[in-house]
Symmetry: C2
DNA sequence: CCTCCTCTTGAGCGATCGATCAACAAGGGC
DNA sequence: GCCCTTGTTGATCGATCGCTCAAGAGGAGG
């Protein structure tokens, strides 16, 4: 029971050089820590322990604190690495691409976006941060709302000959229209990555089918939402 | 800084009767603990601490262990209280109600189901349990799949003159059809309860609108999925 | 070979975790 | 009035948390 360490490092006479903890450059060591922290905290949640993280990395626990002054700063770095760094400016370009119909822009954005976030670490750390009350999830979804959905809805208004957002501001129900389809796609990943359901081998194909089913009626529903939201007698029509 | 206790209980000479910790019957004390534990663990996650839970209840921490031998047993009790006990047999009756069209059964089930689970404790503990690797979420969603979606899909097959599940087993894509709409509705609650987004005042109305938008095309999509899933030359048609 | 810089570690600090135990206290039955 | 059952608590245990610090150890430059 006592000598349970798997390999190396003799128990007594502690000054024996370790085989695992090779000497690395500061840069590569920091990268190793960040990658390991992403995988570890994704698995056990942000309440994970620094000692266990160090054990998995094969390094001593104080070494973590040489590269990150606190556990919170390491988690902050994970946010940058997993969420901010994986945000693609191409998404914002896609939804503004005037050469494509709005529905096709939405479809292309969602397929690529979902492929990005249907990731063990992305989804689990996102949810864990939400549970812990961090503002990362709300801020991130605020970006989706303002940088993706808002310009898309603006062009959907134009495509349907509806008043522009300058003339008649976007209403919550319009965003809910897009968040509804969005949520159906996200839920596919959540069931697998967070709830541990084993079904659905090809989630990408499932999402493509969902979009095929939901998109055809979207513009009509959008028109209904906007016209109903504006109880003004239609003069110019 | 030292005498920071809010009320009662003198600091020194510790044997003073406490005003808050009144003597309760075992039954009502246990209920108080369960209710408080649900609220507390929903707020901070299942990694919450027994000392803080006891402090919020105004009782001593060891009292928790008189009613629940371990923290895990208390959490197990929460599962029974929040999930098993709130499962409504009426849901299984609704989706089998032959006097209603399948789409109406689905609509009624989802509206009532979502009203049940769009609850701070329900959603957050569900997600927290999933992150900690407990099998509660997968088992619960398995119940939804087998007891709700499976009988509903069977009758949808009949309503569309498609082969019964006995003749041709239900395929994963059919379940995904229902889980897609289901996920869009769940996501409305998740954004508010877990991700902390403040939007959407009347989530119930938003979900009703989502169903109005998604249900009309559901049967046609279902027919397409089933017929495509069976690459046999149609003879008897 | 020695030196110095820097990556790395063992030991340990104060705080806090889940859980235990003997002692206190509030009523109900006699 | 007393006693005995039972709800309740303070004190405390061993383990583990985030974090600190001084000393060990591996290379590059001289």
């Amino acid at each position: 029971m006592a000598s349970s360490r798997p390999k190396g490092r003799k128990a007594e006479s502690g000054t024996v050089s370790v085989p695992t903890g090779r000497r690395l450059t500061a840069e590569s060591r920091e990268r190793q820590i960040v990658e390991g922290a992403i995988a570890y905290f994704a698995e056990v949640g942000l309440d994970g322990h620094t000692r266990e993280l160090a054990r998995r990395l094969g390094i001593a626990q104080p070494l973590l604190f040489r590269y990150f002054p606190t556990k919170a700063s390491l988690i902050e770095r994970i946010y940058e690495e997993v969420y901010l760094k994986r945000w693609k400016l191409g998404w914002e370009e896609t939804v503004r691409d005037a050469s494509l119909p709005c529905l096709e822009r939405f479809r292309r954005f969602e397929m690529d976006y979902q492929r990005t976030i249907d990731d063990y670490a992305w989804l689990r750390i996102f949810v864990s941060a939400g549970l812990k009350g961090f503002d990362l999830p709300s801020r991130y979804l605020g970006m989706v709302r303002e940088r993706i959905f808002a310009p898309l809805l603006e062009d959907m208004r134009a495509e349907s000959n509806l008043p522009s957002p300058q003339a008649q501001p976007l209403v919550a129900d319009e965003f809910e229209l897009l968040f509804g389809i969005h949520g159906a796609l996200v839920y596919v990943g959540l069931r697998s990555r967070v709830y541990g359901m084993d079904g659905t081998a090809d989630r990408d194909a499932v999402r493509a089918a969902m979009l095929d089913a939901a998109l055809p009626g979207l513009l009509a529903t959008h028109r209904r939402v906007v016209t109903r939201a504006r109880p003004v007698n239609p003069i110019g029509e």
